[in-house]
């Protein structure tokens, strides 16, 4: 046992010891999962095509696209009025409005009006609390 269990860690490469060990464990677990779940893995193509077929694509992908655009615009808009949090405020209003419209089941006049009020009021309130009460940095 003695020599077999002994280990010397070189300080210069010590940053790789644990990641290598965890990587090895993940690999072993991955192989075990492949073996024990081989039927499910073989049917993965069908599973994903069923998931995609059953999915509400406009709402799901719409969420990702709207969020992506929201994140992309926040900083450039904020740079126009630096250190004011305006990037967050100006981008959040259309973001809340658009994603809300995306999620609404029935776009009735009253539902859209309520959404419009929230889309303006919520970002304004949050911006005021965080930028002017808590003095936190916003984009």
């Amino acid at each position: 046992m003695g020599d077999f269990t002994r280990v010397t860690i070189d300080f210069q490469t010590s940053h790789l010891v644990f990641p290598t060990l965890i990587g090895g464990i993940l690999l072993a677990l991955g192989i075990a999962i492949l073996v024990t779940h081989r039927q499910a893995i073989a049917g993965a193509g069908r599973y994903w095509s069923q998931t995609l077929a059953a999915m509400d694509k406009p709402r799901f992908f719409g969420t990702i696209v709207v969020t992506l655009v929201y994140f992309l615009l926040m900083v450039p808009v904020g740079d126009i009025w630096p250190n004011t949090g305006m990037g967050f405020l100006i981008c959040s209003i259309p973001f809340v409005a658009l994603s809300g419209l995306l999620y609404l089941q029935e776009r009735t006049k009253s539902a859209v009006t309520a959404l419009a009020v929230v889309a303006v009021a919520a970002p304004l309130l949050v911006w005021w609390v965080f930028a002017h009460v808590f003095f936190l940095t916003l984009p």
Binding site: M1, T5, R6, V7, I9, F11, Q12, S14, H15, V17, F18, P19, L21, I22, G23, L26, L29, I33, T36, H37, W48, T51, M55, D56, R59, F60, G62, T63, I64, T67, L68, Y70, F71, M74, V75, F88, S92, F95, V96, S99, G100, L102, Y103, L104, Q105, A111, A114, L115, V118, A119, A122, V126, V129, F130, V133, F134, L136, T137, L138, P139
Partner: protein
């Protein structure tokens, strides 16, 4: 007087406000106590630790309790921890006893919360005193035990353990920090990203992503189903509540509180397990088990007492060992980290004020939740009808605030939010488990230090088995958790096979 100097009007107001918001989150199916804490975490940045924790504890207790409303009125658990409440609570509502069932649940929740608070107060200092003696070897084994327990109780052991180790792996991205005794070298970083990934992925954006954005994506995937109308909620009935229902329920209350507290202490196991275990125990020990599932108040008592008892239990390993008891307490680690405080065996001794403030906050949160829900349950139940089209965009916006402000304005943290939010959705589809991943992610850097430093000091792998009797005992627990998992897995497969 000094001892309770933190109990200011603001402290009490934050508990009350947190509890009210938490109840609303709990009431709305799809939103959880964890999400409430994640979304409101940025509010604590400027509050200071005691006040920040008061808000978060209010959200936690309120969020767990609020789940009872939809579970009883519409048969959908508002939070996973109320899953067993639907079995009898919904049946009671169909019999016109909805309000009665909610009052029973609220009283059970209070008793469960208070008993687990007592366990927290008495047990945590003892465990922390004991844990002070732990060397890096025992600390590493405790983390390993936490991961195997979580894996064992996941719906699939292999995938559960894989998720935990994946969390550790992701947490290792970045520099091997010199302040922790590392050599300052990078690892696992794609070329060109050394500057932004120097410190790895920040904890809070990852947590907010997995509990905020992933949930929104899951709801978007199924088309943001419409909640029930106010009319549907009214149909639950207004039958009168009588305290006599609790006659003969003392054992059920104590047993369910014990189960909830114990499950809370075990790392990474959610309230749904506590609620189902307590419900099963109440049913099997009942003299009339055939009434369970048909509107039996004892079933509601068992479920709701146990899930609120979880709140105190889950704080025990967090405050004594630094290991979160569930996903919500994992978020509390973020709140501590924001204030530069490390939780673990030395926490109570070094921060007695914070410890006392947490106990008081838990006590007040339980009492406030009881008062609010007992007297205003009809008003809170209306929150079920808030359109998700209005709620979810605001939640997403709050997620952005939380991610952006954590490191005083780094846009990369916002991209981390999107990256892990989408990855979380894919992971869940692949059968990976969020809770073990999170615990692995939180504990990964500590596990590395404990493991590498143990080997550097002793130079032999056998040290993990021979260091002390505690190490040997922890290996026994690890082996037992894996054995239990194998037995549970076999039983599940047999049941599946029998069901055809």
């Amino acid at each position: 007087m000094e001892l309770f100097g933190f109990v200011t009007p603001l402290f009490v107001l934050l508990i009350a406000g947190g509890t009210a918001i938490g109840i609303v989150f709990g009431v709305i199916p799809g939103l959880t106590a964890t999400m409430a804490v994640a979304v409101c975490l940025p509010l604590t940045y400027s509050l200071g630790l005691e006040n920040g924790l008061a808000l978060l504890i209010g959200l936690y207790v309120g969020g767990i309790s609020g789940g009872v409303v939809p579970a009883i009125l519409i048969g959908i658990p508002g939070t996973p921890s109320s899953v067993a409440t639907t079995f009898d609570g919904f049946q009671m509502a169909r019999q016109g006893k909805g309000e009665q069932a909610m009052r029973i649940a609220i009283i059970g929740s209070l008793i469960g919360g208070l008993i687990s608070l007592a366990a927290l107060y008495l047990f945590t200092p003892w465990l922390a005193d004991f844990a002070i003696r732990f060397s890096y070897v025992e600390k590493f084994l405790i983390i390993l035990f936490a991961l195997t327990v979580m894996g064992a109780l996941s719906s699939d052991m292999l995938l559960g353990i894989f998720s935990g180790f994946l969390g550790i792996f992701v947490s290792l991205v970045g520099v091997y920090d010199v302040t922790d005794g590392g050599n300052g070298h990078f690892r696992l970083i794609p070329p060109g990203m050394e500057d932004i990934l120097y410190g790895g992925f920040a904890l809070l954006p990852v947590l907010i992503a997995l509990f905020g954005l992933t949930t929104v994506l899951e709801e978007a995937e199924i088309g943001m189903p419409k909640g029930p109308s106010v009319k549907e909620l009214e149909s639950g009935g207004r039958s009168k509540f009588s305290w006599s229902i609790f006659r003969g329920q003392t054992l059920n209350l104590i047993r369910s509180s014990g189960i909830g507290t114990f499950v809370g202490i075990l790392p990474g196991i959610g309230g749904s397990a506590a609620s189902i275990l307590a419900y099963t125990a109440a049913k099997t020990s009942s003299s009339h088990p055939e009434t369970f599932g048909k509107g039996e108040p004892a079933g509601v008592i068992a479920s709701e007492t146990s899930n609120n008892a979880l709140t105190g239990g889950a704080l025990v390993p967090l405050l004594s060992l630094g290991i979160p008891g569930d996903s919500t307490t994992a978020l509390l680690i973020g709140a501590f980290a924001l204030q530069g405080i490390q939780v673990g065996p030395l926490f109570i001794g070094q921060h007695p004020n914070t410890w006392n403030s947490m106990i008081i906050a838990m006590l007040l949160a339980n009492l406030v939740t009881f008062v609010m829900m007992y007297y205003a349950i009809r008003w809170f139940s209306l929150a079920v009808a808030i359109p998700k089209a209005i709620l979810y965009p605001v939640i997403l916006m709050m997620c952005v605030i939380g991610a952006y402000t954590i490191n005083y304005g780094i846009m990369f943290d916002v991209w981390t939010l999107l990256f892990f939010g989408v990855l979380g959705w894919i992971g869940v589809k692949l059968g990976l488990e969020v809770a073990p991943f999170i615990i692995g992610f939180i504990l990964g850097p500590s596990a590395e230090i404990y493991f590498v430093k143990s080997l550097e000091s002793f130079g032999d792998f056998t040290i993990f088995f021979t260091k002390s009797w505690i190490a040997a005992f922890l290996w026994l627990l690890i082996a037992a958790s894996i054995a239990v998992s194998v037995v549970i897995g076999r039983r599940r497969r047999a049941e599946k096979h029998a069901a055809g």
